[in-house]
Symmetry: C2
Subunit: 143 residues, 2 copies
Amino acid sequence: MVNRSVVKILAKHGMKITPQRIAILDVIINLQNHPTADTICDYLRLSYPHISIGTVYKTLDTFESKGIINKVYSETDTMRYDGVITQHHHLYCIDSERIDDYYDDGLNKLLNDYLKKKKIPDFIVEDFKLQIIGRFNEKNKTK
Amino acid sequence: MVNRSVVKILAKHGMKITPQRIAILDVIINLQNHPTADTICDYLRLSYPHISIGTVYKTLDTFESKGIINKVYSETDTMRYDGVITQHHHLYCIDSERIDDYYDDGLNKLLNDYLKKKKIPDFIVEDFKLQIIGRFNEKNKTK
DNA sequence: TTCCTAAATAGGAATAATTCTTATTTAGGA
DNA sequence: TCCTAAATAAGAATTATTCCTATTTAGGAA
């Protein structure tokens, strides 16, 4: 079940529509948990056994440079990817590798207004990301 | 010129005082530009030719787990380190690898108050870090 | 529809960052 | 001064990522 909108996204950015790109973009948009390139590749191999890890890395880089996906900084030395590009922030769990999205328009506005007013010397702000570090409490420990 | 306070920091955290630890901590506190483990090692070798890169990594991890230094998330796949542990944020340059510290007590307070009041469901906030992404302007391009 | 070409891909080698292993050394308490 | 657990050096191993090259392919032109 190829998602038609995935094809549209590729076309909109003037990219060649290849089965690999469709599959990769489909996976990253549908996996909600900020997967690594390796995780993405494992998933892809279920339906696409010959895909190459090099292609996955290259394609993710291409998507990122077009602004289709985002890289997520992580504590470990493995890069993670995020199919959500509307502005949002991240909750980092101290006890696990878990990283959740955090949407908060109030927070966005608060920071936007502050940084616009504040004027950091010799620096032009283009974007910002808040990493919120802490713990998921009992009710929500597994996911 | 061994910095006495470096020794004090090690002692305060109940760590064995070794020449390697003194040298490493001295370098990371005095280098202000968020060096990589490799950069730290190069510096150390000037005065300490036999230090092992493995020791540098292990020691930086130890320091980080004791809260003496911080890791800094970076765009590339190389971890960087920060000898400054008072709360602060980072300015990431889009055009280079440069990462500057950004101190702003007003911002800290703003975010603290907001997150304290806001209550993110099922998540207990311990800390936060703001990544401010943008460009250094002409006057300040080289550094 | 067929052909053509630049771009994309597969597969594997190469590189770079980091961790692991083990024998040796050492800090600091007894 | 001695003893032992902890720290270190050196290099091997691992892991993530990039690079290389021959082959394939998407999509525009004829």
